[in-house]
């Protein structure tokens, strides 16, 4: 128990790091230089707002005692009333999950959304979409829909986190609309080193996310139960840690391979994207599969996501940083493939199709994924339309072209125009900038 408690303190801080700064860096590097600050702020703001709402009514609604199929009573434990500080670390661990799920969405709507609209969106979205799905998936209470009634396995949040965020990103990108100049102007990433650092930090933080998601099967208060729990702690954390590692490696390689075949070059952005796709896909599966299953899931996710990120141009959907292609697609791949690769030696004790368990698990997993898609899609659409027809989502078109960093925050990320002190080679030039601006492009 002591070891577990110490680990959870570390794991919680790790997952906090995933939102700030890891995700902020990963996304920030992919935007143009004129909107990196806004992109990073969306993650920081998401953490601050969702975190406070989580302790007010989020924990009660997701993990509170008055149980329902879709959510618990948000008022029973309002403000953590009657919650012992002994269990606060569990509350904080789950807080970081709520925060990063909301922050993930921001990549789909980069460069163009009012800060005020994002601030209004967050409380409604976590209340209507995240808290209920966290209850259905993570609480595993008697009536919880996805975990108990459907019986789908989701170790750390393929459905509640990644399908949820990915689907919300899809709906928002559709309702909010495209950036000015989408498909016409070059919108290449302004700093891939930031993205590489972000992806690496996400990978490290993800060990807190996945390995920290262990749920014990026995009663700690009896000697026998405690011994069983410690045995589970040793074997299960080893499994989830190793699976998280190899799946991510396989996804990185698979993404590069697909890129090399389709576009001729293996890129750093592909490596960073492969890392995240692999982590997303192994999130629900890390407790259920063996090493072969983990490598297979990672490789499939890396390849499928590398292909899926190109679809937005065909559908004319400006999912700016591929939240759909990576999180929705990766989340579905990981959740559904549990139905094939799950082994009874794993945390859920269920055999998938390839391990002699028949189609039962595959059906449960698919139904679990579809439930998350439908729930998130429906409630995100309601909130998105409500904001669209009241305060509005978009900044002015002129402001968007000039750059949201300056128009929304009054800042610039980089001092491009200093007349001295820059290095002779490597730094973007004043001439290049003004030339790009005169073409309505930010280089």
């Amino acid at each position: 128990m002591d070891g577990y408690y110490a680990w959870m303190l570390v794991a919680t801080a790790f997952v906090l790091m995933m939102t700030t700064p890891a995700l902020a860096l990963f996304y920030g590097g992919m935007t143009r230089a004129k909107s990196v600050l806004n992109m990073m702020m969306m993650s920081y703001i998401a953490l601050a707002i969702v975190g406070i709402i989580w302790v007010l009514w989020g924990w009660s609604m997701s993990f509170g005692p008055d149980d329902g199929t879709f959510f618990s009573n948000p008022f029973t434990l309002f403000g953590l009333k009657d919650v012992s500080t002994d269990t606060y670390i569990s509350v904080m661990f789950q807080l970081t999950f709520a925060a990063i799920t909301a922050a993930l969405i921001s990549g789909a709507i980069a460069d163009r959304v009012k800060l005020s609209a994002w601030i209004v969106f967050l409380p409604f979205w976590v209340t209507l979409s995240y808290f209920p799905l966290a209850h259905m998936v993570f609480s595993c209470s008697e009536d919880a829909l996805i975990c108990t009634k459907i019986g789908a396995q989701d170790y750390a949040g393929g459905t509640a986190v990644h399908i949820n965020a990915g689907m919300a990103g899809l709906v928002l990108a559709l309702i909010i609309g495209k950036r000015v100049g989408f498909k016409r102007d070059p919108m290449r990433p302004h700093s891939l080193p930031l993205t590489m650092i972000g992806a690496g930090l996400l990978w490290v933080g993800w060990y807190g996310f996945n390995v920290g998601s262990i749920v014990f099967g026995d009663d700690w208060t009896t000697a026998k139960g405690a011994a069983a729990n410690m045995a589970q702690f040793y074997s299960e954390t080893g499994r989830t840690f190793a699976n998280t590692t190899v799946a991510t490696m396989a996804a990185l390689l698979a993404w590069l391979l697909i890129e090399r075949l389709l576009h001729g070059k293996a890129t750093t952005l592909g490596a960073a994207s492969g890392i995240v796709a692999g982590l997303v896909a192994i999130t629900p599966a890390c407790g259920a599969v063996d090493l072969v299953g983990a490598i297979a899931i990672g490789a499939i996710a890396g390849a499928v996501c590398a292909w899926a990120v190109g679809l937005k141009y065909k559908f004319n959907l400006d999912d700016s940083l591929d939240v759909v292609g990576v999180h929705l697609v990766g989340g579905i791949v990981g959740t559904v493939l549990i139905g094939l690769f799950s082994t009874s030696a794993g945390a859920g004790g269920i055999n998938g199709l390839f391990y002699g368990g028949g189609f039962g698990s595959l059906g449960d997993q698919t139904l679990g994924a579809l439930t998350a898609i439908a729930w998130s899609g429906f409630f995100t659409a309601i909130i998105a339309f409500a904001i669209k027809y009241t305060i509005g989502w978009r900044i002015d078109e002129e402001d968007e072209v000039e750059g949201i960093d300056f128009t929304e925050h009054g800042e610039s990320a980089y001092d491009f125009v200093s007349l001295s002190g820059g290095s002779l080679t490597g730094a973007p030039t004043v001439a290049a900038q003004s030339d790009a601006e005169s073409r309505g492009v930010n280089a």
């Binding site: 290449r188 890129e259 576009h263 001729g264 990120v309 141009y313 591929d322 002779l424 030039t429 030339d435």
Partner: protein, 112 residues
């Protein structure tokens, strides 16, 4: 007096500077510029999306020289900046009517 202007590849800048210094050129103005000639730009691919990058980064060097030194200075720049590949740049010479050294007020040849 003449103005020698050279647009060269950025990685050739150190060699050109060293060669000019050896010859005795004591000052020059250097700027980072972008442009393209026959080299054109190149294509970059990010998550499957292809971008044509039209402008290529270059270094522009400007040197004012005595008429007698023009051929030598231009020749030194060409020799030092040459790789033989497309995109090496250009060197051109234009006439200069007058020059003033700001510190002293010296004019023309005395100001170079």
């Amino acid at each position: 007096m003449k103005l020698v202007t050279a647009v060269i590849k950025p990685h050739k800048w150190e060699e050109v500077r060293a060669a000019l210094e050896t010859f005795g050129v004591t000052g020059m103005t250097v700027s980072e510029v972008s442009g393209y000639g026959r080299q054109k730009g190149h294509t970059e691919v990010y998550r499957g999306a292809e971008y044509d990058i039209a402008l290529v980064p270059k270094i522009r060097i400007e040197i004012i020289v005595d008429d007698a030194d023009v051929e030598d200075v231009a020749g030194i720049v060409v020799k030092a900046a040459q790789t033989g590949r497309i995109g090496d740049g250009k060197v051109w010479v234009s006439p200069v009517e007058s020059v003033v050294r700001v510190r002293t007020g010296d004019k023309d040849e005395a100001a170079i």
